[in-house]
């Protein structure tokens, strides 16, 4: 049975470009500019839609690694509830049927716990605080790289050639570094 999602994107893009845009008042530059941006956005979503779940899965995996490392420091961060959040995230990551909304919610929960841990760490001795913060800084690298690869088609990067491919960025974020 055919999946028509991609066709829907194509139809919307063609409709705007070939029917709507030519009918827009040429003296209304904001309207014309916005239709062009909507077309651009739809083309981007069409390109990335098949990999939405892959992206969330990879982000969740990378954030879980940071959370495990921070928890392993054994500091006074109980209020951040890292162990419970990590356990839930791990279980979801291991579930092949995990849906996109579930992965998104789990990823946000881990980030929320990490943010809380960093806030709590500000009151710890300098060495302990630095250990937590540096784990977040280093561990964020693959997550940020993944986002830059994801949004590369928007053309905002000063040096696009320096950004890894989306496929490579997904693998790097998803997997434990060797």
């Amino acid at each position: 049975m055919v999946d028509t999602t991609d066709n829907g994107f194509r139809a919307a893009i063609q409709s705007l470009r070939e029917v709507v845009l030519p009918a827009v008042d040429p003296t209304h530059p904001m309207a014309r500019e916005q239709i062009a941006l909507v077309i651009d956005w739809l083309e981007f979503q069409r390109l990335r839609n098949p990999q939405l779940a892959d992206r969330q899965r990879a982000e969740l995996a990378a954030n879980l690694r940071i959370a495990r490392a921070v928890d392993a420091l054994g500091l006074a961060l109980a209020e951040a509830d890292l162990p419970v959040t990590v356990a839930r995230g791990d279980a979801l990551l291991a579930a092949p049927a995990a849906t996109y909304p579930e992965l998104l919610a789990a990823r946000e929960a881990v980030e929320e716990a990490l943010s809380h841990a960093v806030l709590l760490a500000a009151a710890l001795p300098a060495e302990d605080r630095a250990a937590v913060e540096q784990l977040v800084i280093a561990g964020s690298a693959p997550v940020v790289a993944l986002q830059r690869a994801w949004f590369l088609p928007y053309g905002l990067e000063a040096d696009p050639a320096a950004i890894p491919s989306l496929a490579d960025a997904l693998v790097t974020a998803a997997e434990e570094p060797r």
């Binding site: 530059p29 500019e33 980030e111 800084i137 690298a141």
Partner: protein, 404 residues
């Protein structure tokens, strides 16, 4: 982010607002703007006015402001810009002093909520003070409280010039990654740097800028105000958690710099925020002064150097705003301003700026699109892509720091 947090940000309670006001210390004028923003948010919606409606607002204002008859014709939209609504029109009127005039003017108005909560009165006061020193639009009238317009608005002269070259721009939004080419680069770069130097050396102490707070020199007050401003807006608007932002906030709090010289800070000085004559290469106007304040010049210096608004030249060297190599930018600025570039302070503001840029695109941009509060939702949505360029700059700056 919990559902409750999203609900609080979408429809702030007075307790939520008061909690943020107590926790984060900002300039009094900014406190008023941010408090107003949140107090209105639950009931606010962007209703895009048509040209005739806006034109009628102008007429209503001028009927009460001018003594002699006037004629407003040819209202038309100005495109570009992610923040304010702008309409151009032709006015034939009798000024208070001098001969009758006919000129193209611009109405610049807030949407229901924009990327930056800012004051049209402050913008009006500053442009009036800078006229004759920096090329700025001629300011004429201000509706600071939204008496005649749906939202606060400013009317100023239409400045001739373009924001990006007629050929060679790589993106839709003016200013991001603008390619000027060799000829224009050689003409624009000295002016770009020179005007920044002039602005920072401007004698603001004697200018009429009552709506601006003046941070004391020799303290960290201005840095603290800027940090708390960003933290407050992040708390008000954030779409989701971002642990790296909390790390940055901690670092910024621990390393606040002391102010050596108080300057007028543009707040968004970059390619795309000035107009120029493509034939002569003359900068005809510096625009978008809504973020301006009195504070530390390093804020502007670091802002102009953001990777998102520059690009590499053919040899791979980074050009600040696509105009001047980074290693020359500071030297030329010091010569133009007579003010030193202090590396430690520049570094702090570089990190603050990335922190603020992420707050803008993942916080405020997210919130105003979600609630439909701007006329540029589809343009503002696109800005998310820039967040992670800023995030990597932030991450690397923090990673390389030794002040742990």
């Amino acid at each position: 982010m919990s559902k409750m947090d999203q609900q609080l940000r979408d429809a702030p309670t007075s307790e939520f607002i008061d909690r943020l006001r107590a926790r984060y210390q900002v300039e009094p004028e900014l406190d008023a703007m941010l408090t107003r923003k949140l107090a209105r948010r639950a009931g606010a919606r962007m209703v895009m006015p048509d040209l005739e409606t806006l034109a009628e607002c102008v007429r209503a204002m001028l009927r009460e402001t001018l003594d002699a008859p006037f004629e407003l014709t040819d209202p038309r939209w100005l495109s570009g810009g992610a923040s304010k609504l702008q309409m151009c029109f032709t006015l034939d009127w009798q000024p208070t002093a001098g001969p009758r005039r006919k000129a193209d003017l611009v109405v610049r108005m807030e949407p229901a909520e924009s990327l930056n909560a800012s004051s049209r009165q402050r913008e009006y006061d500053l442009l009036t003070a800078l006229a004759g020193t920096i090329p700025v639009p001629e300011t004429l009238w201000v509706d600071a409280e939204g008496r005649w317009f749906p939202e606060p608005a400013l009317i100023y002269g239409f400045s001739r010039g373009i924001g990006k070259p007629s050929l060679g721009s790589r993106t839709v939004v003016t200013g991001l990654g603008t390619e000027y080419g060799e000829r224009l680069r050689a003409l624009l770069a000295p002016q770009f740097v020179g005007l920044l130097g002039k602005l920072h050396a401007f004698p603001h102490e004697t200018a009429r800028l009552d709506s601006f707070s003046r941070p004391p020199v020799g303290t960290d007050q201005t840095a603290r105000w800027q940090l708390d401003r960003t933290r407050r807006v992040w708390a008000e608007d954030a779409g989701g958690p971002f642990p790296l932002m909390e790390v940055a906030a901690n670092w910024l709090e621990r390393n606040l710099p002391v102010l050596d010289v108080a300057s007028i800070v543009h707040g968004d000085y970059r390619a795309g925020n000035f107009l120029f004559d493509e034939d002569t290469g003359e900068i005809t106007a510096v625009l978008d002064w809504e973020r301006a304040y009195i504070g530390d010049r390093h804020r502007d210096l670091a802002w102009s150097s953001s990777r998102v608004v520059g690009h590499n030249d053919a040899d791979g060297s980074f050009l600040v705003c696509g105009l001047v190599p980074e290693d020359e930018f500071h030297a030329r600025y010091e010569a133009a301003s007579g003010l030193p570039v202090i590396p430690e302070t520049l570094r702090w503001y570089g990190i603050l700026n990335r922190f603020q840029q992420i707050q803008t695109v993942l916080g405020t941009a997210y919130r105003i699109v979600r609630l439909g509060l701007t006329h540029q939702t589809i343009l503002v949505t696109r800005l998310e892509a820039a967040a992670y360029i800023f995030a990597e700059e932030l991450r690397q700056a923090l990673a390389s720091d030794t002040k742990w």
